[in-house]
Symmetry: D2
Amino acid sequence: MAGNTYGKLYKITTWGESHGKALGVIIDGCPPNIPLSELDIQKEVDKRKPNSSASTSRKEADKIEILSGIFNGKTTGTPISIIVFNKDQKSSDYNNIKDLFRPGHADYTYELKYGIRDYRGGGRSSGRETVSRVMAGAIAKKILKEKQKTEIFGHTIQIGDILAKKFDKKHLEKSELKCADEKAEKEMLKLINKAKAAGDSVGAIVEIVIKNPPKGLGEPVFDKLDAELAKAMMSIGAVKGVAFGSGFDSVLKKGSKNNDQMTAKNKFLSNNSGGILGGISTGEDIVIKLAVKPVSSISIPQQTISKSGKSVMIKTLGRHDICLAPRIIPVAESMAALVILDFLLQKKTF
Amino acid sequence: MAGNTYGKLYKITTWGESHGKALGVIIDGCPPNIPLSELDIQKEVDKRKPNSSASTSRKEADKIEILSGIFNGKTTGTPISIIVFNKDQKSSDYNNIKDLFRPGHADYTYELKYGIRDYRGGGRSSGRETVSRVMAGAIAKKILKEKQKTEIFGHTIQIGDILAKKFDKKHLEKSELKCADEKAEKEMLKLINKAKAAGDSVGAIVEIVIKNPPKGLGEPVFDKLDAELAKAMMSIGAVKGVAFGSGFDSVLKKGSKNNDQMTAKNKFLSNNSGGILGGISTGEDIVIKLAVKPVSSISIPQQTISKSGKSVMIKTLGRHDICLAPRIIPVAESMAALVILDFLLQKKTF
Amino acid sequence: MAGNTYGKLYKITTWGESHGKALGVIIDGCPPNIPLSELDIQKEVDKRKPNSSASTSRKEADKIEILSGIFNGKTTGTPISIIVFNKDQKSSDYNNIKDLFRPGHADYTYELKYGIRDYRGGGRSSGRETVSRVMAGAIAKKILKEKQKTEIFGHTIQIGDILAKKFDKKHLEKSELKCADEKAEKEMLKLINKAKAAGDSVGAIVEIVIKNPPKGLGEPVFDKLDAELAKAMMSIGAVKGVAFGSGFDSVLKKGSKNNDQMTAKNKFLSNNSGGILGGISTGEDIVIKLAVKPVSSISIPQQTISKSGKSVMIKTLGRHDICLAPRIIPVAESMAALVILDFLLQKKTF
Amino acid sequence: MAGNTYGKLYKITTWGESHGKALGVIIDGCPPNIPLSELDIQKEVDKRKPNSSASTSRKEADKIEILSGIFNGKTTGTPISIIVFNKDQKSSDYNNIKDLFRPGHADYTYELKYGIRDYRGGGRSSGRETVSRVMAGAIAKKILKEKQKTEIFGHTIQIGDILAKKFDKKHLEKSELKCADEKAEKEMLKLINKAKAAGDSVGAIVEIVIKNPPKGLGEPVFDKLDAELAKAMMSIGAVKGVAFGSGFDSVLKKGSKNNDQMTAKNKFLSNNSGGILGGISTGEDIVIKLAVKPVSSISIPQQTISKSGKSVMIKTLGRHDICLAPRIIPVAESMAALVILDFLLQKKTF
């Protein structure tokens, strides 16, 4: 059913293709009287920009513009429309793949489903769509921070077989790979450069932390907070797994070690649950791990077929991401903010 | 928002508490003219019944009854109401925990959210709620099998650190732990019995397989097929992680190994994607892994607090599950069937 | 899409056929900690009972039963399931019409849409379905009255060409036709008896009044309060028109007479708007008029066709309603309560 | 909840204020492979343009632009974003009313609900918002016409006490007031000019006809086709009543006259039902009447209050509509098209 809208009370609808005229988002349900400027949003969008050897060479000087919903510097409760115009798209670059299905991409399934697709840069299935999510998430993050002191951040905890072993927040702020362990990051960069030299790509695990979340969010049974967060996270391209708290590691634990015991003042002695019990937030930090698959675009030739069913070899020309972790983190933060704010609005209005 | 309804076109609403008068489900949107008997549903519900040392001792002779939506042995397109009356609930068993928050359970968060809870057997947050899901799922599975030849099954692939290493479908059919590797299952049972003797519990990984799924299911961007399936799976109590295809293992792979190359006749040479590309089904088997946490109810005493904030020790009296895998599998199969059928109805009617 | 669920936060799902085993409703989203007994609901359901010559002869001794969602006399925030078992249905009475499409009824369209229908007493399209709405509405009315001092009532203002000309609340309470003008009611009863003698039926206009409604309910643009109320009212069988405030009469007025001027203390000098401006409640009484068509079941023979397309004459045997106004009023009150409570929950929780 | 989105499968979200930078709509769920040009939409938007003495003097040279969802002249199944930039808004014109609540307008309720409002030209509550609906409706109308031969048109059947008495389609096409009776239109124009001279305004009844609609649309119980259409129509500002088929006139009829008898080949001998039985379309023309209140903006001074509660007199300066009928018709046609297409997509895909 459509599928480009997310949320119930803070409802966002994204639109736009990688190489179309523009991309944008409509936010329907933002509370009124929130001070908001284009800068608040631009800041978050800029975090998405590739800035390293680990990233694409496409220049994304995304200049955002607010078209509605703000009056005298404040939200009015009416829909907020935010737009980014695309510039300098060289669509002709994609003529050579217009009849081919790139392995690991959505080319085959879009063609199968719609019988037509905008093949330029992946069209709607491009990662570029996520700029719309970040624009909407920027406002959600701002509201959560100012009204609830809730903060959301993500970091890379594994690339290939290299694990981050310490958490240095200062380093995270400047880290190219959004990794909080400087030493591990150096190893990660080596791995990335090696893969790049081989025309290949690497996978990663990122962790999203929601600090100081509101208590009591989430609905019993189907609309559990972790269920909604799982959907939100899995809706990000390249994410192939999601886990909460001790997640897949809990399999190896006994119940006596995995249960979070409680003590006076509603304190938990551990956080294996990842801040959610019975689908409802406890108030402890919500901790989510995401499996990020290796980038599908690689320069090593691979076997595929054309629209007419002919076998051909394909390889990605030009530069491309080698590891998606740093680009996925701001998107995952945004999606987390959307989920938390939506549930919060179900509890109360500002 | 409410949160006891799942689905858009094949929409189910579940109700009932563990120790209330009855539990049930309403299915709104079932296609008309499907032959359906109470036996079709009873069969699936019976699979949920504990039948081993790995299970609870509570006798659940759940006799289901259809109250509406069927006429002359066929569905009519109107809501199907199915009910199970609870019998012999000894609610008094729960008086000792009515003011305590059991670690790992929803007691604390329900109290926090609602300011009231039916503490008898977990009330609404009890695993017993899933009987309603299985009743609705039974019909979805029947439709998928008869109209699309799609079959859905789950099996236990890991308990604690014991891994299943082979897939013997015959053994699976009679397996107590729903494990397809007879040898591994013996080891698993040993592990369970050891944990039981210690008053403890163990975790597991189960795999859900959707064989021969319809192609082209799933919506781009937010309502991706894997996103919806992730939500559906995470909505099952005790599930703490979900992954598709090579999932968390893809992190260790290079792109050149993880991409599923294609060859003539739309064949894929591997299925690392788990049957979903860009959020849309390819037609390959959909493969999902679930992390099942160790059972929270254990007889080892644990630290907790009472409603009034006093520190106390708590332990679970009587018998209880040691490992949830075999009981979660029919529920996960049902949820998968609900998601697949719902997307299928968005594509076409019967 | 399904279509048996109403509401977003106070969400109800109804099920059951006229001559099936039972009918019921699930309420998902009722706030917790509301004292609630079966009597609260029974009282409202009893108001639906036909008690006059203007009504059906079918005995509807509807004994309601609450199956979930209540603990120690209070709502818990979990789904409330309420059921009424059908008794003494003589389904065989309907064998003669099972292959015929009764004029004015849903027989033809149900057959067209579903290719199957439960013809006994109209099955799902029977007015009997509304008992489920009244059960859900009873709780909504109770909450609105206790938390907001909002009261909702309906009365018959026209039957055929007889208009009520005064409003005597005392008379309304005991009125057979739910008409607040004793003199007019006598004329109305004469008209009904005349139609009855002729084997015919009559139409009516009823007015629903929401006294002291919460201010600020309703969303701009599509989900206006009047738009939602219009949908809710038109969802009642036999209602063919709905109007707010001066409604169709406003057509004959000039703007200078139709505008409600304001004076100090946010007082309005008139209420032509019917309590809603720009889709949002002003706090003035909300006043709705409903056109109720004459009952379709009549004993005068009429031309129709059979399922196989053959022309036949049909007439309704046995007794039936002559005017639906008194039976529609409690349903319309319930629907109004559902809409108001749902919007109120979008504003705040209790 | 939010409230700026309409539809389930063909889902539209509108945004923008009367005097903001731009207005627009996102269509999520448009079927793929529909040939579509900007001209298809521009044509319908131009119909909205005031072109007579009965209309506003504001020049609305609305130049529409498609920003996404079209590739090589066809829809791709991804969201279609359409925008209109506002030009030459003289916002300063509204400074004098920024602290006043205009009678009959949404000023008071928006302020009440949001605590802030864009007072320039009514902001979001302006009729200008409907340009977004017409853009989305243009595509729906095109699809319905090409795929189903369904056509939708509206005409003015009453202004004040002047009734149209004949239906001349040729005249309708060029009619200033969208009235199909040339003689009646002349009388209507006289009435309008008289009201205008007096600084006043007039109301109207318009009729919307859906010719040759698909059969079997609509869901039983709550989501009846007429219930959805009623909501869609009532969501248009200034519409205060809606009725189907014989509507409020059915009140005066006996059942024997109001029932539509049937004859061979599924023919109905009359259409008092307005093409809908039991909430489902019969295939007969769907006929809807709308009560349009007299324009709220008048130059006759009226009593109102300021934000601070002070009593003041207010009158509308400059030119304004005297009768809204001709401007509401294209919007109502669009809303009808949205409802019909949405239900059609629930039945099948193209």
